[in-house]
């Protein structure tokens, strides 16, 4: 009788391991789960917690948030020729995506910064066109100044209800003003605090991907790698289209772990946006697009605990809801059962989380591999990447995951392109991949 009751309670409680907040139509959907629905009791173990966020659907055009975007374009000497022409085309494509009540500014920089089009309503298309037409290349690269001036323009009309962005297009390394990745990262951080995200678009093979990536990640924006300028217009069109589909901004996920669980690290995310203090993990996530998925994976260490059903974590997702133009919060609690049953434990694998974990670990490995390759330890880097690929491949077949399969192929390709010219290109590809939400690799999100 007691065993039956225990079983019943257990199964009921097991169900409770999946915590999902009841989502109404205009709310971000939050799902949190551990990689094993059942944890081992009296055992020190590593577990993974995954919080998945899904953007809700925007109710047609009306619901879409007005944009407030500054397009910052590199017009240094390297942009001369078709690149600058394509950049202009891209800007025009972006402009076409904007509604009349969107705000747009166009800033161009070489060794100094010119504000070609100060922040203005997109309805003033003629004068914006004129500004775009004045774009001409030649000079050095004052990237820092360009971004700051872009942010200045965004600040002019910045309101909570708008999607406030700086979209930076550069083909080269910054050489005027602060030019290191860490400095630009700092800039990104301070811009994030203001609520301005910087999406960086690297054009060609001459830009500093570390810099661009840090700036984007720190500020909560996206990073895009465009190999050839003729792709610019299309990418801009897509990106600006996607900007309009942002449903949640200033997304902050706060996970509070129960006693006995220790947060180790958040996998595969920029260190800038993560803060782990004691039992609390705070992660600032980039904006969420409609119907798009983003997640974070937290590695944690579990102390030997007696069997019990424990609330292991509380997850608070706070964000600014674009649809309602109001702050929003989704909270949930996660419970887990501690059991001595090893069998049960191993069978309680949650594939979705496992896949996510694998992806994230691979991501970490990939970062390491880049470091090795940067240090010239090519062979080691190669081996690491190949191992990475293998692990992913195994996982792909184990869990039947297309995502893993695709990723493993990518890593294989990485391993083959560690030398010479290809490495320059591949590094950019890898960096881009590393910062992108794995579910949005196909997208050009701005």
């Amino acid at each position: 009788m007691l065993s039956r009751l225990t079983a019943a309670i257990t199964s009921v409680l097991a169900l409770a391991c999946f915590a999902a907040a009841p989502a109404n139509a205009q709310q971000v959907r939050v799902e949190t789960a551990l990689d094993h629905s059942v944890l081992q009791a009296n055992q020190k173990q590593t577990a993974y917690l995954r919080t998945a966020l899904t953007g809700f659907d925007l109710p047609g055009e009306r619901g879409r948030a007005p944009l407030n975007v500054a397009i910052v374009i590199d017009k240094s000497g390297s942009m001369q020729g078709t690149k600058i022409e394509q950049a202009k085309a891209a800007a025009r494509a972006a402009l076409a995506q904007l509604r009349d009540d969107d705000i747009v500014a166009i800033v161009a920089y070489d060794d100094t910064v010119e504000v070609l089009v100060p922040a203005t309503k997109a309805s003033d298309r003629a004068s914006i066109e004129r500004g775009i037409a004045r774009l001409s290349a030649g000079g050095m690269t004052a990237l820092f100044g360009g971004v700051v001036k872009g942010a200045t323009e965004v600040r002019k009309f910045m309101t909570r209800d708008r999607v406030n962005r700086v979209v930076l297009l550069s083909d080269g390394a910054a050489n005027v003003g602060p030019a290191s990745a860490s400095e630009l990262g700092q800039l990104g951080r301070s811009l994030r605090k203001e609520g301005i995200a910087v999406t960086t678009i690297g054009l060609g093979l001459g830009y500093n991907e570390d810099l661009m990536v840090q700036l984007a990640q720190a500020s909560g924006g996206q990073h895009v790698f465009i190999e050839h300028e003729r792709q610019l217009a299309q990418v801009f069109k897509e990106g600006f289209g996607n900007l309009a589909s942002i449903v949640a901004k200033e997304v902050v996920v706060k996970i509070r772990l129960a006693e006995g669980l220790r947060p180790v690290k958040v996998l595969g995310r920029a260190a800038e946006s993560i803060d782990i203090v004691g039992q609390e993990v705070t992660v600032q996530m980039p904006a969420l697009y409609a119907r798009q998925l983003d997640d974070l994976v937290l590695e944690l260490e579990v102390r030997p605990l007696p069997p019990q059903n424990l609330q292991v974590a509380t997850v608070d997702v706070s964000y600014h809801n674009v649809a309602t133009n109001a702050a929003d919060k989704v909270s949930m609690a996660l419970r887990a059962e501690f059991t001595d049953d090893r069998e049960r434990w191993s069978r309680s694998e949650v594939p979705a989380v496992r896949v996510a974990v694998l992806e994230r670990v691979a991501n970490e490995q990939s970062r390491q591999a880049i470091e090795l390759r940067d240090q010239g330890r090519v062979e080691e880097a190669k081996r690491l990447m190949q191992d990475n690929a293998k692990t992913l491949h195994e996982g792909a077949s184990k869990y039947g995951s297309d995502t893993l399969d695709k990723l493993s192929k990518e890593y294989d390709f990485d391993a083959d392109n560690l030398e010479g010219e290809q490495w320059n290109r591949q590094r950019k590809v890898i960096q881009r991949r590393n910062v992108q939400s794995p579910y949005q690799l196909e997208q050009n999100n701005f």
Partner: protein, 542 residues
Amino acid sequence: MNANARLGLLLSAMVVVPLVAVGFVGWRLVGDQEALARHSVESGFGERLKSLDQAVQTIVRGYERDLARYAAELPRTTDPQALREALGRQPRTSLALVLDRKGRLVFPPLVAGIVSQRELAFLERTRPVWEGGLLESAALLGALDGKASGPDRGWIAYFFGGGQHFLWWFADGRRVVALEVSGIDLMTELVSQLPETPVAGEDTSDERTVLADATGRIVYQWGSRAPAANERPKATVGMSEPLESWTLRHFAAESTLPGAIAGTLRTALVAGLAGLGLALGAGAWLIWRARTRESRLAAQRVSFVNQVSHELKTPLTSIRMYADLLKSAHEDAELDEAEPAARHLAVITRESDRLSRLIKNVLTFARGQENRLAIARREVVADDIVTATLATHGPALAQARIAVETDLAAKASIALDPDAVEQILSNLLSNVEKYARTGGWVKVTTRVLAGPVRLVMRVQDRGPGIPTAQREQVFEPFWRASDRLSDGVTGTGIGLDIARRLARLHGGDLAVVDSEGSDGQAVAGATFELVVLAEPGPKDAS
């Protein structure tokens, strides 16, 4: 040198010299002005940079005000979490040091498990500040106990990891809060408020201002000018706290304003010189015209005189010639000289001679007035001239019943102008005919003397003579013994003037001397003595 040429030179000098002088001085002045303008432009740049620095200062002060507010608003708790949250909410800073009144570090907590990685890194880089006692002393010396003996707030700038970092501290008597201000944040603040380069086409000034940090690295710049590699800035200004080691540099093209100023001044100078030159030139030209007008008038007069004389001479030639022809034909006819025809002829001949002499005199006189009188010496026998002249005057003298006596001893051939001598003698004889008729006698004496070789001729009459007082006066042109027409005195009064000029041209002279009788005693009458040098004198015209 020709008088006109001299005048021309003088007038040219009158125009050129002041122009050159003014031009030179003016050019120098313009140069000075340009240098001055350049200097003031450059110091103007400096001023501009200083005011930029002021603007930056304003930004920084604004920053400081915000920071002060944050520092004040920071909860007075030692709870790290509360402080963290409070810091997290602030846009400008996320890290801070908090020291208690004793200068002990309160936040971030130096406790593992509580302190975050970021805070740890922060503590690491600010170690010299909280460990080294920098803030401590500030806390102690500062307004920690409310006794504001020193500053209660300030900046600390330090270098770490190749970058410059800033702390802004604020002491309120109970604690010291040092907020981290990242260099990037400061830069971001500055850059967002500093000007950008105006869009091409709108900005015509070729300048650039550069903001450089402590290491000299360009933080931000604006302006369309791309300075050359070795170009030096027109102005450099160090900035104020906390960016003391930062600089503002201004590059500009060489000649913006000073060149323009100089150009304008130079244009004005040139215009002024042109005006001056014009005025002087006009003046000079007017003077030239006025002076040369005299020459022109004189020339006109001369040509008039020449024209008139030519006009007069031509018919006169015919008259004389035909009178002569008549006479020779008459001689052929062997007519009596007393015949009326002979007498008539004699008159015609005589009067035409006289007319001829008069014309010659007038011409000579006119030339004399113009100082264009000249003589041409030839080796001649003076007596021949005397004889010929006396022959010409013969009829007239006979008609005037003046007996002619001669004492001619100038047989030597000497160099003189025979026409001039003839004219002199002719005029003297005419005067005798006119004024000394009553004497009924004239004597011509000639001698050639040496040392220097000269001809001395005397013409003596027994007329009323010339009073001593008038001996000079008689030579003045137009002076005649009497102006009253009724006195029956004829003549123009120019004869003696001409005669003397001609004499003087020979280096000699014509004068009235005492009349002597053959015994050397003074007698009545006038004696004219002509001295004519045989050697060319200074007055000879070449």
